[in-house]
Amino acid sequence: MLNRPLSLWQIPLLLVALALVLFPIFWLVMTAIKPPIDWNASPAIWIPSEPTLINFRTLFDPAAIRAYGVGGVSQAATKAVVGSIVASVSATFLAVALGLVSAIGLSRYSRTNWSTPLVILSGRMFPPAAIAVPFVIIFSLTSLMDTYPGLVAIYTAVTLPFSTWMLKSFVDDLPREMEEAAMLDGKSRIMAHLTVTVPLIKGGLFSTTMLVFILNWSEYMFAQVLSNTELATIPVQLAKYVTATAGTLYGVQAALAVLAMIPLILGGFFIQGHLARGLTFGAIKK
């Protein structure tokens, strides 16, 4: 709009806002590098005088923390990290691949009416606690409880409407004439889409993949109710602190939280340009 510099009174306002936004993240990162004695000190310690990486080491080697006099009550997070990667990556791949095919179908060969977005949105409105109920029943009948295929199936189905709708908005932006020209050149319909449509929406495809990954990576409740001994993801592991009887391992939990957060902050940064579109189901373009 009108390009003017900040007024004098607006500068402190902006700085205060920035401090408030960054403080929780700052606190989390500081906790992750605190030695055990600083974890829950009274009064709380803002910046540890002796920062350490022991919390991160403890995640993969629970005995490491014993050197600090903590009773080694923590559980290795290796399984949860691997589990999160396996579940999120496979579900994201499936949801985006299926979503891409559906998006081309919807954009090029179907008429969408007002009910289509409503059906898609209703999938996102249903409380996960409620979807989890029938899943638990069906999965116990088909012995998919506590397995990765079960979790991947849920993640794929839950994020598929989202990936379809977002990818459709990118395909809609392309003029049809390019695909039609390729078909007139004798390419089959599928080849025309593979060689013309897909390369042209690369950016959109990347952003959609990233957003679906963020949804899967962050998911907590389904993983929580489906997991028992075999299945583990980072959010489930993180939430365990509430039930830990042997006191809370603040620093170790914070270290895991920081590890979990890094890919999302980086990913979010790369797809900033498409963030508004993705988060509003294509209602906002830029």
């Binding site: 936004v21 060969y109 963020i214 957060m261």
Partner: protein, 300 residues
């Protein structure tokens, strides 16, 4: 929309494209939902009987929920209150921040990313982080002590726990309002603004008479999207307060979760879920009537 050179038979062949996605949704989502819908009319519970052995109650579960279940009704009211408070605050803060970003200043790109970062943090991590911040010996209380407010027990008092949830949620999602409103503001055409300025309109008049009407659809989209999410709120509250103290911060999702997975009242929980779904569908439908063309027409 369909005036292309692709003929009708191509359209039919092309339908094939949407089949794989539909099959997956049907098998993995729709089937369990239908099972759950049937279940919600029975008294089924895994500790009591098999699904076929459960007795059919008709609408009894729904009746119970809507008329007698005070805990459910309170959870609905509490979630609505949380939604109204959080969305209003997020809107005001988001709009204020977006207005600042209409100015030009150094480091604007970096600050833009920084202000979006809370949205990228996993909900469980947000819950855990704010749980640490609100500890009685935590940094929030340290800062409060500077202005003379001492020993605040955030998680022992009903209103304070609710306030903690509000603060957490507002921190987490104000960036979404900021992002949406800023893209909306940037899309407001410049000429009417210039014209209004030339005609001598005050900045206040320019905002309310020119900018705000153009921004209205975007504002509604932001509210709809956030309302849908806040109705489902679970992770942050679960880690922050577990719904406590008592049931002071128990939202709909927490209540359903406790019903289904702590008390194993799966059928009753499913009925509650379908009521919530019906309510939110109705609400979103009404809210979106003014903006549906924008959402439907992806050509922008």
């Amino acid at each position: 929309m369909s005036n292309s050179r692709l003929n009708a038979s191509a359209k039919n062949q092309g339908r094939v494209f949407t089949i794989p996605g539909q099959v997956v949704s049907l098998v993995v989502l729709v089937t369990p939902l239908l099972v759950a819908l049937y279940m919600s009319f029975t008294d089924w519970s895994p500790t009591r009987s098999s699904l076929s052995g459960a007795s059919f109650l008709g609408l009894e579960n729904y009746q119970e929920l809507l008329i007698y279940d005070n805990r459910f009704l309170q959870a609905v009211g509490r979630t609505a209150l949380l939604a109204v408070i959080c969305l209003s605050l997020e809107f005001v803060f988001g709009l204020a921040l977006a207005t600042l970003f209409l100015r030009t200043f150094r480091g604007q790109r970096f600050l833009f990313s920084a202000f979006l970062s809370p949205m990228m943090v996993l909900p469980v991590v947000v819950g855990y982080t704010f749980w640490m911040l609100f500890q009685s010996n935590g940094p929030v209380n340290q800062v409060l002590a500077l202005i003379g407010v001492t020993s605040v027990e955030w998680f022992r008092d009903s209103s304070l726990a609710f306030l903690a949830v509000v603060v957490t949620e507002v921190w987490h999602w104000t960036p979404l309002f900021f992002l949406i409103l800023l893209s909306g503001l940037n899309a407001v055409p410049e000429n009417p603004i210039r014209a209004a300025v030339i005609l001598g309109a005050s900045p206040r008049q320019v905002f309310w008479k020119v900018v705000f009407p153009a921004l209205r659809p975007v504002i509604i989209v932001a509210f709809v999207i956030r309302a849908m999410e806040v109705i489902k709120i679970f992770d942050e509250v679960f880690l922050l307060t577990r719904g406590g103290p008592g049931s002071a911060t128990e939202t709909i999702s927490l209540y359903i979760y406790k019903l289904a997975f702590n008390d194993f009242q799966l059928a009753y929980g499913a009925a509650a879920a379908f009521l919530v779904l019906a309510g939110s569908l109705l609400m979103v439908h009404l809210l979106m009537i003014p903006v549906r063309d924008q959402l439907l027409d992806n050509r922008g």
